[in-house]
């Protein structure tokens, strides 16, 4: 037996992908089954079955096989989709996930699936169809001649015209190759990594994926590499017995002008079958997948992946290195300016400045590209929500439609990791507390089905995520009442809050409005943790609600956590950095403008009172009044915002904006509140980064 351990990682990754596809497609299946989806879902199940069997995970293979039978029967129109069926398929899918996770952890899985397999088979027998035992796909058609579709032929000619070479490559695998599709993948990746483009293949891409070939296959590749080099590259891949590379010439025969448009014969199982009598009326007959359609799907141009998988830790390291470079760039630029000031326009100084400028631009670009490489579409988080919302709605007897927008919006993977849990919590809240039961909705003239809208989009340097429901909304007066009763704040303080501020009470620790505690959302530990998680990464969460109409949560997140823009200020001889994401504006005011409400200093800014915090008093000691008692000089104020609140931070000087690299503070420093980290400035000194939320804690504590 061959050692399969080197394939495990590949298998696990592939299994996760297929499970993902299955999950999304089963959901779609429930909403609107179409031949395309049925075909895709069948392929995914089939691939997963094949690879888990090849790896020796028989239970997993058996379970996918049972699912595949159901999909196949659906595809042939022998049975139709029911909620019960979807639930069972999801059960099976969850078991597959558990099996996969167990294999990832301990290398094997002992999860039993006999009952599930039976319940899936049950679907088939109950709906009157015979379980499909034969799968025509298992036949291994011997590859015939490499025939080119018209567009493939044109692509080859275009490649020749642009000076590339086009080769026909025949690859022969070792006879006992265990996972042929893995070898195919490695060949395709190797070609891709060396700048080659695969124009066509024989057999076609699907057949290669599903290992429907003997021990050899052909590729048509456009590249600028000589034939011998290409051959050597491919021979380095293990389990490849032989590689033949021959130059492709456009045929001068009639074939060339009339490129063969005859697609490979598809296996017989796609032949149309009669809809069974049990066909439910609301199900479009799956048998409509005509041969013409399947052929179209089967003969599409091979999509050669233009991507390379990179270990996350390698990306992290690259970003760290770029971070160091950003610091040094700033330092070099500063040194250049100091030299200029000292030596005026010496030739060497000019040359240094020029080089520093160039390094600066290159560093900027490098940073930008590495940041982009770390970006993932938020789809990675959103993907699991349709299933989750469906299950929740079912459990609470609600009817909920989840609308998602902007799944393609990209953000740094570190932010993605952190945003997932808060979003889950808020969606649960919307379904559980926001959306009313269908009967109640009908009574008040709303559609039975509630809508939860989840959207993501870029705004300047931020990403804005909104969760909006058309449920019962929240009543500010009610929230004030609850907050007072639970001792979150005093009645006087509650009365002073604006309606908008009162809504934000739901983020206060120990606050939960749920009438009864449900399993899903809420023992009153939810929303405050949501907020602190979001604030920890420099984000802002806000809520707006109209009673009877619905609630909207908005989350603003930085695109990345590693490098941010900050406003540098000076206080007591030291430089501090304030994340620019929180800075609304800066002011220069005269001490006479400061008024006092009790002991609290405020200024009037465009008709609004703005509470002031002296950074010195905040961090050292004393009250604002003591610190600034004899000050007659103009003062600098940085207005920072957090949700609906604003505060003016009094500092000694404003220095300017700069890009900073966030570094964490050592735990040996002790529990130090108020700083989210530190950064290294151009002159090599260290500046602490203010945690903006901390500036507010003092203000609201005084308010309460």
């Amino acid at each position: 037996m061959m050692d399969t351990s080197e394939y495990i990682a590949l298998f696990l990754e592939e299994a996760a992908e297929q499970i993902n596809i299955l999950e999304q497609d089963i959901l779609l299946l429930e909403q609107s089954p179409s031949p395309d989806i049925l075909n895709e879902i069948f392929r995914a199940a089939h691939t997963l079955k094949g690879s888990s069997r090849a790896m020796g995970f028989t239970a997993m293979g058996e379970l996918t096989h049972a699912m595949e039978d159901v999909f196949d029967a659906l595809r042939k129109g022998e049975i139709s989709v029911t909620t019960e069926m979807v639930n069972r398929l999801f059960d099976a899918l969850d078991t597959l996930k558990a099996m996969r996770d167990q294999i990832a952890e301990v290398g094997s899985s002992d999860i039993a699936c006999g009952a599930l397999v039976n319940s899936l088979r049950d679907i088939l027998t109950r709906q009157g169809a015979e379980p499909q035992i034969q799968h025509a796909e298992k036949q291994s058609p011997t590859p015939t001649e490499l025939t080119l579709q018209e567009h493939q032929h044109e692509a080859a000619l275009t490649a020749l015209d642009s000076g590339l070479k086009v080769y026909r490559i025949t690859i022969r695998l070792a006879e006992d190759t265990l996972m042929k599709s893995v070898r195919v993948l490695m060949v395709l990746q190797a070609i891709d990594a060396h700048g080659g483009t695969v124009l066509a293949s024989n057999p076609d891409e699907d057949a290669l994926d599903e290992e429907r070939f003997d021990d050899w296959f052909e590729l048509l590749v456009a590249t600028d590499k000589p034939a011998e080099e290409l051959r050597n590259i491919l021979l380095q891949i293990s389990e490849i017995r032989a590689v033949e590379v021959t130059a492709w010439q456009p045929p001068i025969s009639a074939d060339a002008t009339v490129p063969s448009a005859v697609p490979e014969q598809k296996p017989a199982s796609n032949a149309p079958s009669m809809p069974s009598e049990e066909e439910k009326t609301n199900t479009p007959p799956a048998s409509l997948s005509s041969p013409a359609e399947t052929e179209k799907a089967g003969s599409r141009a091979p999509v050669v992946s233009q991507t390379v998988r990179v270990d996350v830790s390698r990306l992290d390291m690259l970003l760290n290195l770029v971070g160091e470079l950003v610091i040094d760039r700033t330092r070099v630029a500063q040194l250049g300016r100091e030299f200029e000031a000292r030596f005026q326009h010496d030739e060497l100084v000019d040359s240094l400045l020029e080089t520093a400028g160039h390094i600066g631009r290159i560093t900027d670009e490098l940073q930008e590209h590495i940041m982009k490489a770390r970006m993932l579409p938020i789809e990675h988080v959103f993907n699991r929500f349709p299933r989750m919302v469906r299950d929740l709605a079912q459990r609470f007897g609600k009817e909920v439609r989840l609308v998602m927008e902007g799944q393609e919006t990209e953000l740094d993977r570190s932010v993605i990791e952190i945003i997932s849990d808060p979003l889950i919590h808020m969606l649960r809240n919307s379904v559980d507390h926001g959306i009313e039961p269908p009967d109640e909705r009908e009574r008040i003239g709303k559609p039975r089905q509630g809508t939860v809208r989840l959207s993501a989009r870029h705004e300047e340097n931020y990403i804005l995520i909104e969760i909006e429901d058309d449920g019962k909304g929240m009543d500010a007066a009610h929230l004030r009442e609850v907050a007072v009763r639970k001792g979150v704040l005093s009645r006087e303080a509650a009365e002073r809050l604006s309606d908008r501020e009162a809504l934000n009470l739901i983020f206060a620790p120990g606050f939960s409005t749920a009438q009864q505690i449900t399993e899903v959302s809420g023992r009153g530990v939810g929303m405050d943790i949501v907020r602190s998680n979001i604030q920890r990464v420099g984000g802002i969460v806000d809520v707006d609600s109209t009673p009877g109409k619905g609630t909207r949560f908005s989350i603003r997140l930085p695109l990345t956590l590693a490098i941010i823009r900050a406003l540098l200020v000076r206080m007591a001889g030291q430089v501090y950095a304030i994340p620019l994401s929180s800075v609304l504006e800066t002011l220069k005011i005269h001490p006479d403008m400061v008024q006092f409400v009790g002991k609290r200093p405020v200024i009037l800014l465009r008709g609004r009172t703005l509470p002031l915090v002296s950074l010195y008093a905040h961090f050292y000691s004393g009250e604002y009044a003591d610190v600034n008692a004899n000050n007659r000089q103009p003062m600098f104020v940085v207005v920072v915002g957090l949700s609906e609140q604003q505060v003016g931070v009094v500092v000694d000087h404003l220095i300017g904006e700069q890009e900073i690299v966030i570094k964490s503070l050592s735990r040996y420093l002790g529990e130090v509140n108020g700083f989210s980290g530190a950064t290294i400035l151009g002159d090599g000194r260290v500046a602490l980064i203010l945690e903006v939320a901390d500036l507010f804690q003092n203000v609201s504590a005084r308010a309460a």
Partner: protein, 150 residues
């Protein structure tokens, strides 16, 4: 050095330094590097013995005033003052000392438990007493000094 020091099979290599009039020592395996005094960024709200953080080739390293950590009177900085950067559990921390004197070899059998120091404020942080040429050297329990400051 006495014959005994050289002959001893087990001996400890330590870096000796001064705090006030006393000589302390740290096991050499903890020492990451010894640097001159440099500008330290003060960190508000940190424990009183923390002087702040420095930039050590791109890393942010906290620095403590070892004297006040041990409950001893702090001394003015002099040109001899140094920061000893130690590495404990994979993280670095700097300690300000009045002067670094030398690397010593202490035979294990010349190290006594710190019983005779009982009652003094810094006793908690001393793991043993060594004698070199009739000079008393206090061995610092680095782990304790650092961990308790969390």
């Amino acid at each position: 050095m006495t014959a005994a020091t050289i002959a001893a099979t087990t001996e400890r290599q330590v870096v000796a330094f001064r705090l006030g009039d006393e000589t302390y020592a740290i096991d050499i395996s903890y020492i990451h590097e010894i640097i001159r005094m440099r500008e330290i960024t003060f960190v508000p709200r940190a424990p009183h013995y923390m002087r702040g953080v420095i930039n050590l080739r791109g890393r942010i390293v906290p620095v403590m005033d070892l004297s006040s950590r041990l409950g001893l009177p702090s001394h003015e900085e002099t040109p001899l003052s140094r920061i000893i950067v130690v590495e404990v559990n994979g993280e670095s921390i700097g300690m300000i000392v009045d002067a670094v004197s030398e690397v010593l070899r202490l035979p294990e059998d010349q190290i006594e438990p710190p019983t005779q120091m009982a009652g003094s404020e810094s006793a908690d942080y001393i793991s043993g007493l060594g004698k070199v040429n009739d000079r008393l050297v206090l061995l610092l329990d680095v782990q304790k000094v650092v961990e308790n400051s969390r």
